[in-house]
């Protein structure tokens, strides 16, 4: 909210109004010229503060007066509006780090405001303006959906000022499908990106309200989602919503980078390869590694390692990517990067470019406390998740509550009953027996999974109180899967006390597509055949038996149908479960048998 007030304050002053107008004009021209001109309004402001401009409606020019127009059928909005203006003036100038993105499930624009980075000189402030009409339309269409967040944005629009996409105002666009356009990267200082492909960072409160069916409808349109991390001093201009589809308008966003900054992240939106030939290889390499400490220090090693081995997906825990710059620096060519949604980003994933994937958002984790990244690769019907259970838990959690939440959300991810592989640092030592390990094994059995890492993965010299050291090993890096034929390789690097756990998953091929020619018998009948043959006979005067095939082709024409062979791996988990049940039943029945014989012996002595 601080951030929001800040931005509004800037524009509410007299000088900034002028600049806002200029910028608006500027934004309009630059959107045509694909951003050849630089925005002039940023020069008058302090570095680190970016202002954005909302395009006004041509029919109803925005009133500069503070008294807003009353909106139809929404009395709550007006009450909100009247309380707004005071806070605008008293807002202090602060800057915060904001990462912008689009939620994959809802396709909503989101931005995360990090108040912790306020004093950071490199921190940036990103604001986005949208067309005000869309929101009003949405509100008019179904006023039932208006939330408090929604009212906020409508208030801003009513004032004809700026809308900021912070946690509070995300909600407006949850009803909007955004698709960004890429303006070419000809100039070195201009980078454009498409927001549909970016990572979603939005308040979890909204996710709750999103119905499930919506995620399914948008699944086809969702593209791979590398991180959209905006560098410092970025501004977003030329924002416009096209009302081609009321339900799914389009937002064009172009991002302006200052000339000096050349971000390391290549943002290759819209260039994913659909047919990544995973199935031909029948192998899928996954890597889980706890780097211990900062990933920045070990990125060179990781680059070399990934160049050599070329894994498909790499999960890193304890990455500690605190700023956007660090994320940019940790980018690796030929890989997309995804980060966790927590405030202290401690896990990240590298995904090979060309793999068509979908980010799975955790529905149970409302506050974004879990270090958990879930991916789905629809092409091979495989779900993957990487997790990290830290020693230092976030506030408000105890060890069991955090563990339960993590396990529950993992189970929620694999609700689709498909082939799954989950992995990461669980911080539960499976080489020793405890109540924690029992709970974990129970959970695994209930979900039809098995832990496939058998050797110890962590080796270190522990300092004792008397000044001596002791060598300790433990099995805390786990991989849970329901697939068959996995190969595990452990590699010890000097950089971390955790081994690199690499898993090659053999994947069953999805069924082949077969084409077949089939007749459409819907209209066939003896009488129609007779009529057809008579008709043809009257025309051609050929022998009637020669006309049969021609008549049949006209009545029941051939049609090519595509069928898919049944691939494997669908019911393997279920079979395994039932097998386990059978074995358990057998064991229990054996015990019972012994008891019964004993009783019989007593009851009927010879």
């Amino acid at each position: 909210m601080d951030n929001q007030d800040n931005v509004l304050n800037v524009t509410s002053s007299a000088t900034s109004r002028k600049t806002a107008r200029m910028a608006r004009l500027d934004g309009q021209t630059t959107s045509k010229d694909s951003g050849k001109q630089r925005p002039t309004q940023t020069r008058s402001l302090e570095p680190g503060l970016i202002q954005t401009v909302m395009k006004r409606d041509r029919e109803r020019p925005t009133s500069t007066s503070r008294e807003p127009k009353r909106q139809r059928g929404n009395s709550r909005v007006t009450s909100e509006l009247t309380s707004r203006p005071r806070t605008l003036e008293t807002g202090s100038q602060t800057s915060g780090r904001t990462i912008l993105g689009v939620d994959l499930r809802t396709n909503a624009i989101g931005a995360m405001n990090d108040p912790g980075a306020m004093n950071d000189p490199e921190a940036m402030n990103v604001t986005v303006a949208t067309h005000r009409n869309t929101n009003q339309d949405i509100a008019r269409r179904d006023p039932g959906i208006t939330t408090d967040h929604h009212q906020d944005t409508i208030a801003h629009h009513q004032r004809g000022k700026i809308m900021t996409l912070t946690n509070t105002t995300v909600t407006t666009t949850t009803r909007v499908r955004c698709k960004a356009q890429v303006n070419g990267v000809k100039k070195s200082n201009l980078l454009s990106l498409s927001l549909t492909q970016s990572q979603g960072l939005m308040s979890q409160g909204m996710l709750e309200k999103e119905p499930d069916h919506r995620t399914r409808t948008t699944a086809d349109t969702v593209m791979p989602a590398p991180l959209v991390a905006l560098g410092p001093n970025t501004s977003i201009k030329g924002v416009e919503l096209k009302k081609s589809d009321v339900r799914a308008p389009r937002i064009n966003v172009s991002v302006h980078y200052p000339a000096k900054i050349k971000p390391g992240v290549d943002l290759p939106m819209n260039t994913y390869i659909k047919k990544f030939d995973l199935c031909a290889n029948k192998k899928f390499d996954l890597i889980f590694w706890n780097v211990v400490g900062r990933l920045m220090n070990k990125i060179d090693f990781l680059k070399d390692y990934m160049n050599k081995n070329k894994p498909c997906i790499v999960f890193i825990s304890e990455a500690e990517l605190k700023t956007v710059d660090q994320v940019l620096a940790c980018s690796i060519p030929d890989y997309n990067i995804e980060i966790s949604l927590t405030k202290t980003i401690r896990t990240c994933v590298y995904i090979k470019k060309g793999i068509f994937y979908k980010r799975l958002l955790n529905r149970l984790d409302q506050g974004n406390d879990l270090e958990l990244i879930g991916l789905e690769i629809p092409h091979i019907r495989h779900q993957i998740a990487g997790f990290y259970k830290p020693f230092k838990l976030p506030s408000g959690y105890t060890k069991p509550t955090y563990k339960n939440k993590l396990l529950n959300s993992l189970a929620d991810l694999l609700n689709g009953t498909r082939s799954v592989s989950l992995g990461g640092d669980m911080n539960i030592d499976l080489s020793k027996k405890s109540h924690e390990t029992d709970d974990l094994t129970n959970w695994l059995i209930n979900n039809g999974l098995q832990q496939i890492v058998k050797k110890n993965t962590r080796h270190r010299l522990a300092d004792l109180a008397n000044g001596k050291t002791r060598f300790e090993t433990s099995l805390i890096d786990h991989v849970y899967t329901n697939t068959v034929g996995n190969k595990i390789r452990l590699e010890n690097t000097g950089l971390s006390d955790h081994d690199i756990v690499s898993v090659t998953t053999s994947l069953l091929q999805p069924g082949k597509i077969l084409k077949r020619e089939v007749r459409d018998w819907a209209k066939y009948d003896i009488s129609t055949l007779e009529n057809k043959i008579n008709y043809l006979y009257n025309e051609d005067r050929l022998p009637r038996f020669q006309l049969v095939s021609q008549a049949l082709d006209e009545i029941a024409p051939f049609r090519v149908i595509k069928t898919r062979e049944n691939g494997g791996s669908i019911i393997i988990t279920k079979i395994e479960k039932s097998k386990r049940k059978e074995i358990d039943n057998l064991k229990s029945s054996k015990r019972q048998e012994i008891k019964i014989t004993y009783l019989k012996h007593d009851a009927y002595p010879r």
Binding site: Q509, R544, N566
Partner: protein, 291 residues
């Protein structure tokens, strides 16, 4: 476990898992586990894997034809081609309405079609509507001979067992033209009428009310009778490879006529049916030239 699988399969596929036919059920399970997959239309010949459908079809056709030819070369008895050649008869066989109705009743409507892509169901419908047209057609053929298309069979290679790439593991299944099938049924009835008392005492194949079971029973009773009479019993069995492919028309006709003199029209039909047979291989709708 079967019940659980049933539930699962019903949920996933919504197929006919509920039917009481256990064979179809386990077929479905096998399909879901990826066991019964159709052939990949690839063959390995002298170390090279051929994936082109036309090429695989040609190689399969040549293989099937050469197999029969190489076996035929082993036959030392010289073939008299003059005896095999069909000569149009002076008094051809004729079919009437009752013959056709009888044949229509006997033919199944679900049979795989040949090169004409015409299902037997439609042919039956046609024959029931235009009785005179079909009778004219069949009587013409009985007098003059079969058309060229009726002689060519559409062969589908079917995997027996083992390696998919090895052509030796395939069995040729030939399908004939649908009109021809109806004609065959008509002719069969005629043959049965004429050679009613000519069937061998020991024949159980291709004979009404006979099967392998009756063959076993007859053999068993024969052996038992021998043992009862305190005789030495020995069983000697042989298997003929490609017996029907190597059928000699000249010997067949000679043998049939030795037992009972067949009519001129029926003789012509049998010889005409076996004269200059051809086959083409169909791989996923792509066909080779007939050979």
């Amino acid at each position: 476990m079967k019940a659980e699988l049933k539930v699962e399969i019903r949920r996933i596929t919504q197929l006919k898992a509920t039917s009481s036919n256990s064979k179809s059920f386990w077929n479905l399970v096998g399909g879901l586990l990826g066991k019964n997959r159709s052939s990949d239309n690839a063959l390995e010949i002298s170390g090279e894997i051929i994936t082109d459908k036309l090429k695989t079809g040609i190689t399969a056709r040549d293989f099937f034809v050469n197999k029969v030819l190489s076996l035929a070369k082993l036959d030392t008895f010289p073939i008299d081609i003059n005896k095999c050649k069909p000569i149009p008869p002076k008094q051809p066989l004729t079919f009437n309405k009752t013959d056709l109705e009888r044949a229509l009743k006997a033919t199944k409507s679900k049979k795989c079609f040949g090169i004409d892509k015409l299902p037997l169901r439609v042919v039956k419908d046609f024959a029931s509507i235009y009785i005179q047209d079909t009778l004219n057609l069949f009587n013409n053929i009985a007098a003059k001979g079969m058309p060229e298309d009726w002689r060519t069979a559409r062969v589908l290679p079917l995997l027996k067992k083992g390696n998919r790439l090895d052509i030796n593991n395939y069995r040729p299944i030939s399908n004939l033209v649908s009109f021809g099938k109806l004609y065959e049924k008509l002719v069969l009835n005629k043959i049965e009428d004429e050679t009613l008392d000519m069937e061998g005492q020991w024949q159980h194949g291709f004979r009404r009310n006979h099967s392998t079971l009756t063959a076993c029973l007859q053999l068993q009773s024969y052996i038992a009778a021998g043992i009862n009479a305190r005789k030495i019993v020995a069983v000697y069995s042989i298997d003929l490879s490609a017996a029907f492919d190597l059928l000699r028309a000249d010997i067949l006709i000679e043998d049939l006529n030795k037992r009972k003199k067949l009519s001129e029209g029926l003789n012509f039909i049998i010889l005409d049916f076996l004269w200059k047979r051809k086959s083409l291989v169909d791989v996923d709708g792509i066909r080779t030239t007939p050979d």
